[in-house]
């Protein structure tokens, strides 16, 4: 088929042909075409199927409000469902498929639904499918689900890149029709920072679609003049292919720029789309208006379109849906379509105008006071039946109906912050009311000013006002003489007596459905929408909501504005999720934090694990080790028997200085800190104000006015934040300064009986780190390796004689290598987080699994640490009765009676002989490990009154995995309970 419906003229470039396919069939269009205009030019009317009844569907509109012509574009990971052909820019090689039909668009078996439409009324499913009970999920729902949806995803990963960015401007102008262009000209000349965004690839809006907007010049001529000037202004950013989709607080707008959707694939390393967050001081909504259909019998056949859309196809794209087009309307604007079509040589057999006083139109017959009462044509309209003013019927053959029920201002962005529009009687439509988002104004057709003259003037006037409010002087530009026809409209929503007259084309909501909703008391507009699914399709009711509202108003006897409007919600048009995801996908979902020994660990073949955003070495497999347990057991044993090294840089480190630093720590820790001597470290427990323990760590005192606090890896940010809160908000008079030094220092735990010997080879000889000179819980600023500044702490998480040593991070890699070399003679081993975990469980140290946000100091066995003699966060509320019951959880050790059994973390404890159910729960296991020292699986857990139950046997159940074993409650300190090793 050659382009049988192509007309002369238009804004397409006929010297640039483009080949494309639709459902496997090859076609040709031109640069400047949309997929819709190219299909139309090729005589294709059938483009889709409706959702519920699978009725044949063709184009209704020429823009982003299109409900019918939805297609899948591209294939594989790039397959994009539900693409509106009206906004898909044609490119060479484009391949589109129809969707929601089987086996083909022409012969869709699901169209059988249409035969049963009398049963499938609004909400029918709420009234049936209830018996037998099991059948809903087994039978009915699977059938319904199979039919659900429109287009499909392939499930393959989207291969394209998406960018996100931020723009700032004085004035954001949304829409580049006559209103937006005139505003941009005004603001651009005034020197303001202007962004002009339009969803279309061609700027000009309705000027591109209307032949006679200006009195004495062509629209495109003026557009290029204006764009020429704007392009030359450095303060104006013109953004075609950019949909401003949402209005958010304080002048922030969301916009998506389609950088590469007009190409077969994006260029390498370039984004397919970009999400822009536009920070505007002022915004002007110049989004025009959307035409509304008229509901009449079988008004949904392909070829029945909005009149303005037919006009746009003819004028801009030189395409016509048919060679014979009937116009049906209730307003003067519909006549313009007839005139433009005739000027392009399209036959217009008649204008059917419901107004009894409709004016004549040269070149065609105007049937005043007439209505369309029936249409024919299985896959596209072939004829209509008209009821004339005198009651007689006349059948008119045609390939298309161009209908117009009037124009609705395009309100979306004006209502995103829950503003309610108001009713404008002269155009019979809702217009924005005064409760606009802050900084926003509206002009042109979007404000209900429908003539070109009003658009130009409105745009410029509102731009001047917006800039004046910012203190920028702007003046009105010279604007061309433009048409200023008054809106001549008689409200007309639906032809009475129709059996099936569509309101929502995609979701198949008809006038009858609205009547049924009313009958069943779903009269609130929100009930109407939810009960009938009106306006819930991909077009969000842009062409359907008002018509349904008008029908409901008729039924309730209330005026339309009292009947209400549904709420406009972002996005204005559907936005690709990829654009909202941006670059934060795959491995880049979150930043990755690497430890100072990362490179070295990689060289050792370490297995890494995600700990928050950090990657930490989990264990270091050696040749011959086939199971992670072998590596971990080895690391534990070698550490406990000699010495091991672990990168603990990830622990939070907060530098606390100031004259009142000691007092400050006293306030934020549950235990006392004021009297900690310089050169000493103390374990500290932090409570939330509700008395629950939330973090622990150490504080080392380097000077009277200088501490370094450590936190757990997970809570580093939270603790730092809370300390700032305490400093600025709770004790603002204290002299304290805080800063994080987590990343400034590479810190390693050196643990095991030979740790001192190893460190003595590293630490410069002038520093005595003997047990006497540098006892347990000591800290000092030292130098290592011949003069590098370092910090040494004698603290232990493993229960061994142990130290933590810190150097400036850039030297962390080198220090690790030096220590490994120095430790060769002791058979030093690097250990990862698994071995770290095993050793802390063996030692009975609480960690994240125990500090789970519900456990108090009492639960953790540290109740006595909470000072009652000072003001500290959490001590008052920790005394509440419910947190101090006799059977309160206590941290205990758990050992299987049969040492070959494995203790599951997350298992629940029951009495040895009693019932196994929630009511008899005695506690739960928090952390488990295999202890190579004890040669047994062990665990930590919380048991009711556990401190008094040492030696008791309990039943540990894990019904989730079918486990049920006997365990013994023991001290949590499995190894070295008296701490002799630590102090050795």
């Amino acid at each position: 088929m050659s382009q049988s419906n192509r007309l002369k003229g238009g804004l397409i470039q006929t010297d640039k042909p483009l080949n494309f396919t639709f459902d496997g069939k090859s076609f040709q269009g031109f640069q400047g075409d949309t997929l819709a205009s190219a299909l139309m030019a090729n005589g294709v009317r059938l483009m889709g199927r409706s959702f519920k009844y699978h009725r044949p569907r063709g184009l209704l509109t020429s823009g982003s409000e299109e409900p019918n012509a939805l297609m899948e574009l591209r294939s594989g990971g790039r397959q994009e469902p539900n693409t509106r052909a009206t906004v898909a820019e044609l490119y060479d090689g484009l391949s589109a498929q129809s969707q929601n039909r089987w086996p083909s668009l022409e012969r869709d078996m699901m169209a059988i639904n249409d035969r049963f439409s009398t049963f499938l009324t609004a909400g029918f499913y709420y009234k049936t499918f209830m018996w037998p009970k099991a059948f809903w999920e087994k039978l009915y729902e699977p059938i319904i689900r199979k039919a659900a949806g429109l287009g499909s995803l392939t499930g393959e990963d989207d291969p394209d890149l998406y960018d996100k960015g931020f723009l700032h401007c004085d004035l954001l102008i949304i829409g580049a029709g006559p209103t937006g262009l005139s505003a941009a000209l005004t603001a651009g000349r005034a020197g303001a920072q202007v962004i002009l965004a339009d969803e279309d690839f061609e700027l000009g809006g309705r000027l591109l679609a209307d032949a006679n907007a200006f009195e004495s010049r062509s629209g495109s001529d003026w557009i290029s003049e204006v764009l020429g000037e704007l392009n030359a202004l450095p303060n104006v950013r013109i953004m075609p292919r950019t949909t401003v989709f949402g209005s958010y607080d304080h002048g922030i707008y969301g916009a998506v720029e389609r950088n590469a959707d007009h190409l077969a694939t994006p260029q390498a390393d370039k984004p397919r789309q970009t999400l822009w967050r536009i920070y505007s001081k002022r915004a002007l909504v110049a989004t025009g208006a959307i035409e509304r259909p008229i509901a009449f019998e079988n008004n949904d056949r392909p070829g029945i379109m909005l009149a303005g859309a037919v006009r746009a196809f003819a004028n801009r794209w030189a395409a016509t849906p048919a060679h014979s087009v009937v116009v049906f309307g209730n307003n003067g604007d519909a006549h313009a379509t007839a005139r433009d079509l005739m000027a392009k040589g399209v036959n217009v057999p008649a204008i059917i105008d419901v107004r009894s006083d409709a004016p004549d139109c040269a070149g065609t017959e105007v049937l005043a006071g007439a209505q369309i009462v029936e249409t024919k044509g299985r896959l596209g309209v072939t004829s209509i039946t008209v009821r004339l003013a005198n009651g007689q019927h006349r059948e008119i053959a045609c390939g298309s109906v161009a209908m117009s029920g009037g124009w609705n201002p395009n309100l979306g962005l004006t209502c995103h912050q829950r503003g309610r529009p108001s009713w404008k009687e002269d155009i019979h439509a809702f217009v924005p009311s005064s409760d606009l988002p802050v900084g926003q104004s509206v002009a042109g057709a979007a404000a209900g000013d429908l003539s070109t003259h009003q658009a130009l003037m409105g745009g410029a006037t509102k731009a001047v006002e917006a800039l004046n409010a910012l203190g920028v002087t702007a003046t009105m530009p010279d604007l061309p003489e433009a048409e200023d026809r008054p809106v001549a409209i008689t409200p007309f929503w639906h032809v009475k007596g129709a059996k099936r007259a569509w309101l929502d084309y995609q979701n198949d909501v008809t006038v009858k459905d609205v009547k049924l909703a009313h009958q069943e008391n779903f009269t609130s507009v929100e009930h109407l929408k939810r009960y009938t699914t009106l306006g819930m399709a991909t077009d969000q009711g842009k062409t359907s909501n008002l018509g349904a509202l008008a029908v409901m108003a008729e039924l309730t006897g209330k005026p339309i504005p009292e009947t209400g409007t549904t709420i406009f919600r972002p996005p204005y048009t559907p936005v690709a999720m990829g654009a909202l995801g941006g670059r934060a996908v795959g491995k880049d979902f979150h930043p990755t934090r690497l430890t100072p020994s990362h490179t070295w660990s990689e060289e050792q073949g370490a297995v890494f694990v995600e700990v928050g955003n950090w990657l930490r070495a989990q264990w270091f497999p050696k040749a011959g080790e086939t199971h992670w347990r072998q590596s971990v057991d080895r690391e534990v044993l070698q550490t406990r028997n000699s010495v091991g090294i672990c990168d603990v840089t990830t622990l939070g480190k907060i530098d606390v200085q100031g004259a009142d630093a000691a007092q400050f720590l006293n306030n934020i820790y549950a235990n006392a800190f004021a009297k900690l001597p310089v050169g000493k470290v103390r374990y500290g427990l932090m409570l939330r104000e509700d008395g629950v323990a939330y973090d622990d760590g150490t504080a080392a005192r380097f000077a009277d006015d200088h501490y370094v606090v450590t936190t757990t890896t997970a809570n580093a940010v939270l603790v730092y934040r809370n300390m700032e809160f305490a400093r600025q908000c709770l004790w603002p008079d204290l002299d304290v300064q805080l800063i994080s030094t987590t990343e400034a220092w590479a810190q390693y735990a050196v643990a095991g009986p030979n740790s001192r010997k190893l460190l003595q080879k590293i630490v410069d000889p002038e520093f005595d780190i003997s047990n006497e000179a540098f006892p347990f819980m000591g800290c000092a600023e030292i130098t290592v390796c011949g003069g590098l500044r370092a910090r040494l702490f004698r603290i232990s998480f493993s229960g061994e004689l142990a130290y933590e040593i810190a150097v400036p991070t850039r030297y962390g890699d080198a220090l690790m290598r030096e220590m490994m070399k120095a430790g060769e003679e002791f058979d030093v081993v690097p250990y990862g987080t698994e071995a770290l975990g095993v050793m802390r469980i063996e030692k009975g140290h609480a960690a994240g699994n125990e500090l789970n946000g519900t456990t108090s100091a009492l639960n953790l066995g540290m109740g006595r640490m909470v000072s009652k003699k000072k003001d500290c966060i959490g001590n008052v509320l920790s005394e509440r009765d419910g947190m101090n019951t006799e059977d309160a959880y206590r941290l205990v050790g758990i050992k299987p009676v049969d040492s070959s059994a494995t203790v599951p973390a997350g298992g629940h404890l029951m009495s040895a002989t009693g019932p196994v159910d929630a009511a008899h729960d005695q506690g739960y296991v928090t952390s488990t490990a295999y202890s190579p020292i004890l040669e047994s699986s062990i665990g930590l857990g919380f048991v009711k009154n556990g401190a008094e139950r040492m030696g008791e046997k309990l039943r540990l159940v894990n019904p989730l995995e079918g486990q049920n074993i006997m365990v013994e409650i023991v001290s949590a300190h499995f190894v070295d309970p008296d701490g002799e090793k630590l102090r050795a």
């Binding site: 990971g77 397959q79 469902p81 539900n82 929601n100 049963f119 499913y125 709420y126 009234k127 209830m130 018996w131 009970k133 999920e137 659900a148 949806g149 429109l150 287009g151 995803l153 499930g155 393959e156 990963d157 989207d158 998406y162 958010y248 607080d249 969301g254 009958q519 069943e520 009960y531 819930m536 969000q540 919600r569 972002p570 996005p571 559907p574 690709a576 999720m577 990829g578 909202l580 995801g581 934060a584 996908v585 795959g586 979150h590 995600e610 994240g848 946000g853 509440r880 419910g882 947190m883 101090n884 997350g906 298992g907 159910d917 929630a918 729960d921 739960y924 296991v925 989730l960 995995e961």
Partner: protein, 416 residues
């Protein structure tokens, strides 16, 4: 009128002329035995169970707008009983059991669909926590299965297994969890309550309480004074506002939770999945839309709308879990106001004012609780005793130190 396939056929052939209003619009009477404030899911369910289970009283539901217009009409439709703590799990399991018989009970197809809900785990610690939770669920009579990575892959092959920042290490599967057609829940309860004589009064805003000598006598409304023996407040995001009229301050903040739906897609996601490494959960409706959500917007608000950063956060999470989502489009976003409590758990309790009862603090867990919350609140209103599955939901629990803190976040409502 009873609904059935037969009835549908009969109406179809007679032009659907016989369908009657699903509930009546009535004018308020002067006095009721029970006035329920709030015509959302909870309020309507409360009225329904009061009328059905505890019989014989004069009951009114007062709704300031249109029924079902609050969170029951703007949630992500998930039902589940996968809670950890003793104070919660029996209640939610009771609720799930009520869901399982709801349609037959109400004679209304709310499309209760037990498609399974899968909580993904990404770390060993998460797996430990999932095991503890799964065991608690089973010990409370619910169901749970612990899946490994391969088990997850079988159900959801298109998740990001190979290039993930936070690899999927398994998941806790709760097969009886699923989704429900949310609006239908409100309408079904409304219809059921209405047919048992409950007056559902729309466009009737409560503007004050009449309280004398520590006892509530009735409520002032935009449609005049209405006397009541007992008043139950069940107004979700408006809890603080309404209870302030009775002079009470609550351990509640109001926050907005955004929810999202994609364009309709052919079946893609069979059940409900929640991401353990980002803020994202998702299911697919019977119409084909992906219904998803994530975190709240973090600041106190009564504006039923959110901001872009959370939209991005949720979709970044979604994209990182399901890379194929890039080609699907976001169709609509909306926001509901959540009554976030100080420990993330709700209240069903008497107040210190005689005759005034409170049901609230549901955070974003209110929808799944609808049947049990209605049942238990009705039980409390009728008997003055908490239902056995709702004994922990006391207003004074922060004074006594009996918090029910599933997430372990403490008195920070926006983190629950």
């Amino acid at each position: 009128m009873r609904y059935s396939a037969l009835r549908l056929i009969k109406e179809a052939v007679t032009g659907h002329k016989g369908w009657t209003p699903q509930w009546r619009d009535v004018a308020p009477q002067d006095h009721y035995d029970y006035v329920i404030i709030g015509g959302g899911g909870h309020g309507l369910a409360t009225a329904y169970y009061l009328a059905k289970e505890f019989g014989g009283a004069r009951i009114a539901v007062l709704e300031k707008g249109w029924i079902g217009g609050g969170n029951v009409g703007r949630n992500t439709t998930i039902i589940r009983s996968n809670y950890l703590l003793d104070g919660n799990e029996p209640f939610y399991e009771f609720s799930l059991k009520l869901w399982e018989g709801l349609e037959q009970d109400l004679n209304y197809n709310a499309m209760v669909s037990q498609r399974g809900i899968l909580n993904l785990v990404h770390t060993d610690a998460q797996r430990d926590a999932a095991r503890r939770r799964g065991n608690a669920m089973i010990l409370n009579g619910s169901d749970a299965e612990l899946l490994d990575t391969e088990g997850v892959r079988k159900l959801y092959p298109f998740l990001n297994f190979d290039n993930a920042r936070f690899p999927i290490k398994g998941g806790l599967l709760h097969r009886r969890g699923g989704t429900v057609r949310h609006d239908a829940v409100a309408w079904g309860y409304a219809r059921g309550a209405d047919s048992r004589g409950v007056d559902i009064i729309q466009n009737c805003e409560v503007t004050g309480f009449r309280i004398e000598n520590g006892k509530v006598l009735g409520v002032e409304t935009s449609r005049g004074y209405i006397g009541a023996k007992k008043v139950g407040v069940s107004v979700a995001g408006s809890s603080s506002r309404v209870m302030a009229q009775a002079g009470m301050r609550l351990p509640i903040e109001s926050h907005v939770l955004q929810a999202f739906v994609s364009e309709g897609l052919k079946p893609f996601i069979p059940g409900v999945i929640t991401y353990g490494a980002g803020h994202f959960y998702c299911s697919q409706s019977d119409k084909g839309g992906l219904v998803f959500g994530g975190d709240i917007d973090m600041y106190n608000t009564y504006a039923q709308r959110g901001n872009l950063p959370v939209v991005e956060d949720v979709i970044e999470s979604g994209m990182s879990l399901i890379p194929a989502l890039g080609r699907a489009r976001l169709l609509r976003s909306w926001g509901g106001i959540m009554d976030m409590s100080m420990d993330g758990s709700p209240f069903i309790d008497k107040t210190h004012i005689e005759g005034l009862y409170f049901n609230g603090g549901w955070c974003y867990g209110g929808f799944k609780a609808t049947p049990a919350a209605g049942f238990c609140f009705a039980h409390l209103l009728k008997t003055d005793r908490p239902h056995e599955t709702a004994t922990a939901y006391r207003l004074d629990r922060f004074m006594t130190g009996h918090m029910i803190d599933e997430k372990g976040q403490g008195a920070q409502p926006n983190l629950h």
